[in-house]
């Protein structure tokens, strides 16, 4: 006859921390109310993690809501996401760590209201993550406001007379909604309405996580869950409400299961070798690049340039060319465009920083060079130029009421000059040529290489080069030195 003895069959799963450190006193308790469904879902999830042997590669995405503190309880990887954004964070974590098991844990306020877009697109991309969606038809943590899932007639602090579908709409059946999409692999709704359905819920959670482990794609389990405190019911009555009322509206069961029809997951294509990046991005070969800041070591170079004009004058391209050419020359650069929604007219400006040292901020608040392509831009930014700075203005002279005597001003009709070359559009290039001649820090071949890269039409590259050359010749030959 076989020996028999009492053995432990059920105890705190290992996926939980041995001690919960959030509370000083009673540190082994959760913060959840008596009878809360979160504690049950936590336990089912922790057991499933134990059974599948995935604790060391599970990353839990905690939401905003009562379950925000999941990271105090689960001894797994944890990232806490902004309200509703857990599926987006889960997407990033899974893509960065394809071998991890990523579980987004969310309530109905989080997932179905503020996070409706994130869950919809995560499901539609069939991201290979698992979502546990705890639906208790209410905002619990914030004190009982109506949720998208609140049942018709349900009294909440924001529907004190009961949810009126005519005024508030009907409760959203999120699982059915997502199941209408072609993409998601597995969606099931389970209930914590009694201990029998709780056992079914555990199986559902296991199916969902296995779906992810097999690489089949998006899986979600919606769990109908009690909130005794906010419902103002005792825990047993709250559990009964889940079974009697919630299950009637939110029918448990598998809503879609496309695991069998999903192809075997493919290995992602390896990224191209690092050496090919220059070619793919159409950048000059690193081998052809001179040593960083070769000619700039002697003195600290720090250009803070504001370029401004009408949209369509080539303001942004001017800045981009400067930044790219300087980058090729081994300098630190930043280019920050700032413009309205208009493609033409409207105002446009950009901030360019070029430095022999790392750049702290791409913003140019105190400029040492202003390239103003029209009068409003001159008026707007002239005062931001620091004493000793350089101002290039597209006009014969500065307006009489708009003068600065402690900056170097070069007023020339750049657009007129360009017009004589054949196109007023290249006024920006004439001005750029003038700036290069005055600033004298960038070899011509750098600018020509940047031009060839950023301007796709060969014909325009030739016109631009001509305009640059004319601009260089039109300013005094002496070198400008900024303060």
């Amino acid at each position: 006859m076989p020996e028999k003895e009492l053995c432990i069959t059920h105890e705190k799963p290992l996926a939980f921390f041995p001690h919960f450190e959030r509370k000083g006193e009673g540190e082994d308790q959760t913060h959840y109310c008596p009878g809360c469904g979160h504690g049950i879902v936590h336990k089912l999830l922790a057991e499933t993690i134990d059974e599948l042997g995935i604790q060391d590669r599970t990353i839990l995405i905690s939401p905003v809501g009562c379950s925000v503190f999941a990271y105090y309880y689960f001894d797994t990887g944890n990232v806490q996401a902004a309200h509703g954004r857990a599926p987006a964070v889960a997407t990033a974590v899974k893509r960065a760590h394809p071998n991890s098991i990523v579980i987004s844990y969310q309530g109905d306020g989080d997932l179905a209201a503020i996070g409706a877009a994130e869950i919809l697109h995560c499901a539609n991309r069939n991201e290979n993550v698992t979502v546990l969606f705890v639906n208790n038809t209410i905002y619990g943590m914030t004190g009982g406001q109506m949720a998208p899932t609140s049942l018709p007639g349900q009294k909440t602090t924001t529907s004190p007379g009961g949810r009126d579908p005519g005024r508030d709409g009907y409760p959203m059946r999120v699982s059915e909604l997502l199941a209408t999409l072609e993409s998601p692999a597995f969606i099931e709704r389970a209930s914590l309405g009694n201990v029998k359905t709780i056992l079914q819920a555990k199986k559902a959670i296991r199916r969902a996580i296995e779906c992810q482990m097999e690489g089949k794609g998006f899986s979600m389990v919606e769990l109908l869950s009690p909130c005794p405190t906010i419902w103002k019911l005792d825990p047993v009555a709250a559990q009964k409400r889940v079974h009697d009322e919630m299950e009637r509206y939110f029918e448990p069961g598998i809503k879609c299961d496309r695991r069998a029809s999903r192809p075997e997951p493919r290995e992602a294509a390896p990224p191209p070798p690092l050496a090919d990046f220059s070619r793919l991005l159409n950048l000059p070969d690193d081998n052809g690049r001179t040593a960083p800041a070769h000619a700039h070591d002697a003195e600290r170079l720090d250009w803070r340039i504001r370029i401004a004009g009408f949209g369509g004058q080539g303001v942004l391209l001017l800045g981009q060319l400067l930044a790219e050419a300087a980058m090729d020359d081994g300098l630190e650069v930043s280019w920050l465009p700032s413009y309205g929604p208009e493609m033409r007219s409207g105002t446009s400006n950009c901030h360019v920083r070029i430095s022999s040292h790392p750049i702290d901020s791409p913003l140019v608040t105190r400029a040492n060079a202003l390239l103003a392509l029209n009068e409003p831009s001159l008026r707007k930014f002239l005062d931001t130029v620091e004493p000793g700075g350089l101002v290039l203005y597209n006009g014969d002279h500065l307006p009489d009421d708009c003068r600065r005597d402690n900056v170097s001003v070069y007023a020339l009709p750049f657009a007129e000059i360009a017009n004589q070359l054949g196109s007023a559009k290249v006024g920006n290039m004439v001005m750029l040529g003038a700036f290069l001649a005055l600033s004298h820090f960038l070899p011509d071949e750098r600018m020509e290489a940047a031009l060839a890269r950023l301007v796709s039409s060969e014909r325009w590259v030739e016109i631009d080069k001509k305009a640059l050359a004319v601009g260089r010749e039109r300013v005094p030959a002496e070198e400008f030195r900024h303060a």
Binding site: P2, E3, K4, E5, L6, C7, I8, T9, H10, E11, K12, P13, F16, G26, D28, Q29, T30, Y32, C33, P34, G35, C36, G37, H38, G39, I40, H42, K43, L44, A46, Y73, N194, V195, I198, L199, K202, P228, D234, P235, V236, Q239
Partner: protein, 77 residues
């Protein structure tokens, strides 16, 4: 006496929600008449007829409150 199972309840961790009492098939659990330190009336097992089924464990929302034993065949050493 033929003991088939046993359940151990940490009365200080229990919040007295009563869901285990509801889930218990042989009806051998009840809520204590005495309060614990947190002011809850915790669940108690004082009898001998626990079957070791473990349903109370799944009904309980607190991870560490319950531990269930069941009479099982062991491989002779």
């Amino acid at each position: 006496m033929d003991v088939k199972g046993r359940v151990e309840i940490d009365r200080e961790l229990c919040k007295g929600c009563g869901l285990c009492v509801e889930a218990c098939v042989p009806k051998v659990l009840h809520l204590s008449a005495r309060l614990n330190a947190s002011g809850y009336t915790p669940a108690e097992y004082t009898g001998t007829s626990c079957s070791g089924c473990g349903l109370c464990f799944y009904a309980c929302p607190e991870p560490g409150t319950l531990r269930v034993w069941k009479l099982m065949a062991t491989v002779a050493a």
